[in-house]
């Protein structure tokens, strides 16, 4: 960071103000849809930030992070359907199960490197996916409806949309602060050192495997938190929430925003999900003079624009949007 007033800091500050003030706007206009879209963005941003911790700083590319979203979600869903609706039970259970799963996956996967690591994390995520499909007691393929959101002992009412939004935003802020503190600590230095040169780190006496495993578990736990919130947001869990394309989406969010930068994943998540909502409208407007009444239909094909857009960002903006803003090359 060169100064407080460079373009990148301004964009991040504007984004944070936008996120914090959004419910004021939607409260005034009564636009519940926008609030719902942004709740989803905030929840998935937690997952992207957690993925960035291992991917951007640790060099561990997990192609199975959707599994933790699923585990966190199913922890809430299953407990709720068994009559345990207290969030003070649900959230700790969701986090603990995610942590245990990450511990098992990490212990086995961290023996491999590069593409093999990508694929073995995918393999474990697929296993969990099929476990969820096989849970016939909890809806199997069709999923499970959650009739009551997590109860927080009467302190917060999560079924109030604005309260829930701020609840998620607070968790996102806590996650970002945690990641910031982590990567700048001695622990984070070891993780980043192991990414650049694992052998050298071991040679100077750091048991890097243990450090990387702990980092992997922290990331999985945070992603499980995102899943527990997502289940509360949609009032529904199904195997689809941990389909492998969701893991791909998370990687896209992180790379798009900028790997290994603190706010990159947040920028990436907002960009991707806002584009998903806005592109159909924009295309519809642009195509209006050409196609007239057919313009609305042209908007349906927004992925035709998003796909090449992603490709162009990869080709011409190394380091993602964050790298573009700061004008710096990826390290």
């Amino acid at each position: 960071m060169t100064g407080l007033l460079d373009l990148r800091s301004l964009v991040v500050a504007a984004l944070l103000v936008l996120l914090a003030a959004l419910p004021l706007y939607t409260g005034l206009t009564g636009n519940q849809f926008l609030l719902s879209v942004f709740t989803r963005i905030v929840v998935l941003a937690i997952a992207a930030v957690s993925l960035n911790l291992i991917m951007g700083y640790g060099g561990m590319v997990s192609f199975g992070h959707a599994a933790y979203i699923g585990i966190g979600g199913y922890a809430v869903g299953i407990l709720a359907s068994e009559g345990v609706t207290s969030g003070l039970v649900q959230l700790p259970v969701a986090l603990a199960v995610s942590a245990l799963f990450a511990l098992a996956v990490g212990a086995l996967s961290l023996r491999t490197r590069g593409v093999y690591f990508i694929m073995i994390t995918l393999a474990f995520a697929q296993m969990i996916y099929y476990v969820a499909v096989g849970l016939s007691r909890y809806g199997g393929d069709d999923g499970l409806t959650i009739y009551r959101r997590s109860q927080l002992a009467g302190v917060l009412d999560l079924s109030n949309k604005t309260v829930f939004y701020y609840f998620c935003l607070a968790w996102l802020a806590a996650t970002v602060v945690l990641v910031w503190r982590l990567v700048n600590s001695r622990f984070g230095m070891v993780i980043r050192g192991a990414r650049s040169n694992d052998r050298r780190m071991r040679a100077i006496g750091f048991p890097t495997f243990r450090y990387r495993l702990v980092c992997f578990v922290i990331s999985g736990t945070l992603c499980g938190l995102s899943g527990a919130l997502l289940a509360n947001h949609t009032d529904f869990v199904s195997p689809a929430m941990m389909h492998w394309t969701r893991s791909g989406d998370l990687i896209v969010m992180v790379v798009l925003g900028g790997m290994g930068s603190l706010f990159g994943p947040l920028i990436g998540t907002v960009t991707l999900l806002v584009l998903e909502e806005a592109l159909p409208v924009i295309i519809g407007l642009l195509a209006w003079p050409l196609l007239g009444a057919g313009a609305a239909r042209a908007g349906e094909y927004w992925q035709l624009v998003l796909g090449p857009l992603l490709l162009l960002i990869v080709l011409y903006a190394r380091g993602g949007i964050d790298g573009m803003l700061s004008g710096a090359r990826r390290a």
Partner: protein, 305 residues
């Protein structure tokens, strides 16, 4: 016993089909070091072309040939226009870029062919069954798929091991810079290899077209299986891909066919009915995880890369 044999044939057929996909994927991966998630899109495009050209020409064979050529052209143009610029980049850039291509191709197909699935009718002479053993009738078309895939595998082996182009491909897999330094037109070689991979994927797609419904997104699920195959086999190794694809095809088919029965011998029928389908879907991922834990470079790692 007959059922086991029939399932083995089904597994073999799935395995060989996976090999056609995995061979292209592993070549592109091993030689250009490119992670191509859009490989499944080429499989889908092959199937769509087959549906269109079969309807246009009225003959499945002519349609298949035209579809093969068209997929080859699509593959080579994608390489020239987009993917060529991704060589030498980080694997993550490949994942992001080719993920964008998947979105693009799925949407393009929806624009051209519409959202509904297509079916490809089989000609009468293939739509029969032949006795492979006393008491076991097996569809002719599936036998034709097995024979065709084996033939292609053999041709691929001859191409890679016995021709000059194959020599360059193998050289490119073991040391790219050196091949370039020796004056080989590496750009052309890459385009050809990518086209070859695309044609193989298209072939797999068009052969599946009469069996399955041709639909958007059909490439994504089989792509994951193909990735599992090349990881088990070892990246860059065609021999590994061949053995791993047969292994995966057989394990997947036999697991789905017989695990529920096996489970009933051990646990109660209700528990077996609940657990077996999940476990049989998981089987190949369990195999992959086990292989990676025991041999982190796959079963047949390509020699010292």
């Amino acid at each position: 016993m007959l059922l086991v044999l029939e399932q083995c044939l089904n597994g073999l057929q799935l395995g060989l089909l996976l090999f056609l996909l995995a061979a292209g994927l592993t070549l592109v991966f091993g030689i250009m070091d490119l992670v191509n998630l859009a490989h499944g899109s080429l499989y889908m495009i092959g199937a769509y072309f087959a549906a269109t050209f079969t309807a246009l020409t009225g003959s499945f064979l002519a349609g298949a040939l035209l579809a093969l050529g068209a997929t080859l052209l699509v593959g080579m143009s994608v390489e020239v226009v987009a993917l060529r610029r991704l060589y030498g980049r980080d694997h993550l850039d490949h994942v992001l870029g080719t993920f964008g291509l998947i979105l693009f191709f799925n949407e393009l197909v929806r624009l051209i062919w519409g959202p509904a699935g297509l079916t490809v009718p089989l000609p009468d002479w293939l739509n029969t069954a032949v006795p492979v053993m006393p008491g076991l009738l097996y569809p002719t078309y599936r036998i034709a798929i097995i024979a065709m895939s084996l033939l292609v595998a053999l041709l691929l082996y001859l191409l890679v091991m016995r021709t000059r182009l194959g020599m360059l491909i193998r050289a490119g897999a073991s040391n790219r810079e050196m091949v370039g330094a020796l004056g080989v037109n590496i750009q052309l070689l890459y385009t050809l290899v990518f086209g070859l991979g695309a044609a193989l994927a298209g072939l797999a797609g068009l052969m599946q077209a009469p069996i399955l419904t041709v639909a958007i997104g059909m490439g994504e699920n089989i792509l994951i299986l193909a990735f599992v195959v090349i990881i088990i086999g070892g990246i860059g190794s065609i021999r590994g891909a061949f053995i791993a694809s047969i292994l995966v095809g057989l394990a997947d088919t036999l697991g789905r066919g017989f695990l529920p029965e096996l489970f009933k011998l051990v646990v109660s029928p209700a528990a077996a009915a609940a657990a077996a389908p999940a476990l049989s879907s998981m089987l190949i991922y369990l195999i992959m995880a086990a292989v990676l834990v025991l041999r982190p470079e796959g079963l047949f790692p390509a020699a010292n890369r």
